[in-house]
Symmetry: C2
Subunit: 373 residues, 2 copies
C-alpha cells in the first residue's frame, strides 16, 4: 500500500460513474467528492468546525498564494498546513501552475519553469517543477499536484501540443524530486480541446504510474459539450483503480456531467465566491438573496436544507446583513452554498448505488434550470 | 411581578458590589453582566451559536441603526428582533439618543425631540421620546431605554443642568407612552460630571419608579477618577432592588471599578471593535496580534483560555488571516475578546461571593497593566 489507497466500491453498469473510497494520511474520503477551496489556508468566511459540520471531507489550498504569503517555510515551521490552519481532515494542494498563469503579472515560460511577478507587490519569482514540489512538500498536504501549464481557451493546436509535451516532461521532473512519503503526487492531463492530445497526455501520464490523475485545462470558457467530449476521451484511458480529479469544476450541472463520465474529485471557488456576492444555491437555481425582492421574505433560503443557515435564519435577515456589510451575512450564504454541494454529492453517491444517477440528473437539472419563481 | 424581576442574591459587606439575578421574558441573567453589542442586529462577525458558546447572556442592539436600516416596521413584521436575528436570549435596545448625538449630521434639539440627518444617506428624521418608544416597542427587546440626551465632556454646568432636566421630562413622556407588557423600560441618569446634578437626576428618576436604571454620559473622555466619583454619588441614590446599567463601558478596568461601585450591567463595542483591528485581550494586557512579532508565534493567544480560538489556532495563523483580510481572522479575534470579558465577569461574580473582589481587582489590574512581554 502506498501513501494513499483508492478502492472503487461500485461501478455503474450504465454509465462511467463510480463510488470509491480514498484513504489518505489524514482520513478517508467517500468519492465522488467536492472539495471546497481554501486559497490562503482558510475556506473564506468558514471555520474548520463549520466545514466539518457541513460535510466537507477534503479541502484544497493554493500553492501559489501560500508560497507568496505567509511563505511555505513559515507553514513548514508551523508543522505543515494541517497544523497551521487547524484542519484535521485531508488537504490537496494545487501545483501553483494555474495561478501563475492566471493571476501573476509578466510571466515568461521556458522549459526550465516560469518567471513571474507577484500580483501582490510585483516582486519577481521563479517556479519550476522542482520548486513546486519543494513548496508542496513543505506545505505537507495529503495530495500534491504536478506542476503543469494550463492552456487557455481557445488555443492553437501547435501551441497546445508543445505545451502538453512540456507538461509531460515537467510531470517526470516532479516525480523525480518528490520524496515525501506521507504525501501522494497526482499527474495532470492537459491537451486543450484536442481529443488526440488529451489521449496522448493521458497515456503518457498513465505510463508514469501516478497514484491519481488531475484533468486540467477544462471549464476554462469552452462550451459544456466540448468539456464533456474531452472528458469522454480522457477518463477511459486513465487507470480504473486510480482517482480522477476534474480541476476547477464545481457548478451543479458540471458536477453531474463529470461524475457520469467517471470523475471522482472536484474543486471550485464558486460556492464561496457566489456566497460573498450574495447569491445562494437552491434546487430551483441560484437565488440572489441580496435583491430587494427578499427584504420581507421571512422564510429560509431552502426550507428542507439541514444547514445552520437554513435552520435559523431568513432570507430577509440575510439580505439585511449583506446590505450592511455584516460579516455574518457572508458566513451564512457561504455555509449554505458549501452544504448545498456536499449534499448534492451525497445524493449523487446514493443514486450511483441505486443505478439511478442519469434519472436524478435529468430531474435535478430540469428543476435547477427552471429558475427561482 | 412585573415584566422583569431582579433579585439581589448577595451584597458584599466591604464594597458596593452585588450578585444578582435578572429574570426577563427571554431568560435569566446572572449579574454583574457584560453585554456584547450587536449594533445592526448582529454582533459583528459572530453567530448567535458562538455567542451562546462564549457565555453571552444578553446582547444590546442599537435603536438608531435599526430604525434607519432595515427599519423597525420590517423588524416588527419579522416577529421582532429575537425572531429576526435568531437570538433566543435577552436583548436590550438603547434609546437611539447617544447615536443621534454622536453619529448623525445636522441635529437640532428641542423640547419636542431631535431632528437629524442620517449618517447613511443624509435623509431627514425626527426622534422624540414617543418615537423612540414606538421604535423600541416594534423591535421588541426585553429591555428598552428611555430617550435621553447624552452630554459631551467637558460641558458647562448650565447646559448640563438644562439637559438633565429635559432628560427627566423626556423620561416621563417615555413612561407615559410605553405600553408593551413583555418589555421593561429603564430610565437613564444623566448630569454630566456634576455631583449635584447626578444626585438630582437619580432622585427624579427613582421617583418615576422604573424597573431598572441606566447611568449614561460616563466614559465619554473624562478621567477614570471622575467617572468613579460620579458613580459613587449616583448608585447609592438608586433603589437597591433595581438593576443598574453603566452604559457604554467595557474595558476590563472600568468593569471592575463599576462593579465595586454597585453596577450590575455593562455594554461596550470595544471587544468587537478591537478584534476587528487585530487586537486581542490577554491577562497581560492587549496584544496586537497583527504585529510582525507574532508571525512565527505558534502558541495560542492565551494558553489557558477555553474559547474555540485558543483551543485550535495560533497567533501566527491569526496574524496571517488578518493580513490577508480573511474573515476567519476577525471571527477568531472577536470570539476570544468576548470570551475574555464574559470570563472576567464570571470571575468577578465568584470573587463577589468570596468577598475577595478588591484583592482580585488589584492583582488582575497589576498583571493587566504590566503589558505583554
Amino acid at each position: 500500500m502506498g501513501t494513499i489507497e483508492f478502492t472503487v466500491e461500485y461501478s455503474s453498469p450504465n454509465t462511467w460513474a463510480r463510488l470509491g473510497q480514498l484513504t489518505t494520511p489524514n482520513g478517508v474520503i467517500q468519492t465522488p467528492v467536492f472539495m471546497p477551496v481554501g486559497t490562503q489556508a482558510t475556506v473564506k468566511a468558514m471555520s474548520p468546525k463549520e466545514l466539518e459540520e457541513v460535510g466537507a471531507e477534503i479541502i484544497l489550498a493554493n500553492t501559489y498564494h501560500l508560497y507568496l504569503r505567509p511563505g511555505h517555510e513559515l507553514v513548514r515551521k508551523a508543522g505543515g498546513l494541517h497544523e497551521f490552519m487547524a484542519w484535521k481532515r485531508p488537504i490537496l494542494t494545487d501545483s501553483g501552475g494555474f495561478q501563475v498563469f492566471s493571476l501573476s503579472e509578466m510571466r515568461e515560460i521556458s522549459e526550465e519553469g516560469v518567471t513571474f511577478r507577484s500580483h501582490l507587490d510585483g516582486s519577481k519569482h521563479f517556479i519550476s517543477p522542482e520548486v513546486s514540489m519543494e513548496i508542496q512538500m513543505a506545505l505537507g498536504a495529503d495530495i500534491a499536484m504536478a506542476f503543469d501549464e494550463c492552456v487557455p481557451y481557445p488555443a492553437e493546436y501547435d501551441y497546445t501540443l508543445r505545451s502538453m509535451e512540456m507538461t509531460s516532461r515537467w510531470a517526470k521532473r516532479c516525480l523525480k524530486v518528490h520524496n515525501r512519503k506521507d504525501q501522494a503526487l497526482f499527474g495532470i492531463v492537459q491537451g486543450g480541446m484536442y481529443a488526440d492530445l488529451r489521449r496522448t497526455s493521458a497515456d503518457e501520464l498513465t505510463d508514469m504510474d501516478f497514484p491519481g490523475y488531475g484533468i486540467g485545462g477544462l471549464s476554462v470558457g469552452e462550451p459544456e459539450e466540448l468539456m464533456c467530449e474531452m472528458l469522454e476521451v480522457t477518463t477511459p484511458r486513465l487507470p480504473k483503480d486510480k482517482p480522477r480529479y476534474l480541476m476547477g469544476v464545481g457548478s451543479p450541472d458540471y458536477l453531474l456531467e463529470g461524475v457520469l463520465r467517471g470523475v471522482d474529485m472536484f474543486d471550485c471557488v464558486l460556492p464561496t465566491r457566489l456566497g460573498r456576492h450574495g447569491t445562494v444555491y437552491t434546487k430551483n437555481g441560484p437565488l440572489t438573496v441580496r435583491n430587494a425582492a427578499y427584504s420581507e421574505d421571512f422564510t429560509p433560503i431552502e426550507s428542507d436544507c439541514d444547514c445552520y443557515t437554513c435552520r435559523h435564519f431568513t432570507r430577509g435577515y440575510i439580505r439585511h446583513l449583506l446590505h450592511r456589510d455584516e460579516i455574518l451575512g457572508v458566513r451564512l450564504t457561504t455555509l449554505h452554498n458549501i452544504r448545498f454541494l456536499t449534499n448534492l454529492m451525497e445524493q449523487i453517491r446514493l443514486h450511483i448505488k441505486k443505478d439511478t444517477l442519469q434519472e436524478f440528473k435529468d430531474s435535478f437539472l430540469e428543476q435547477y434550470h427552471q429558475g427561482v419563481q
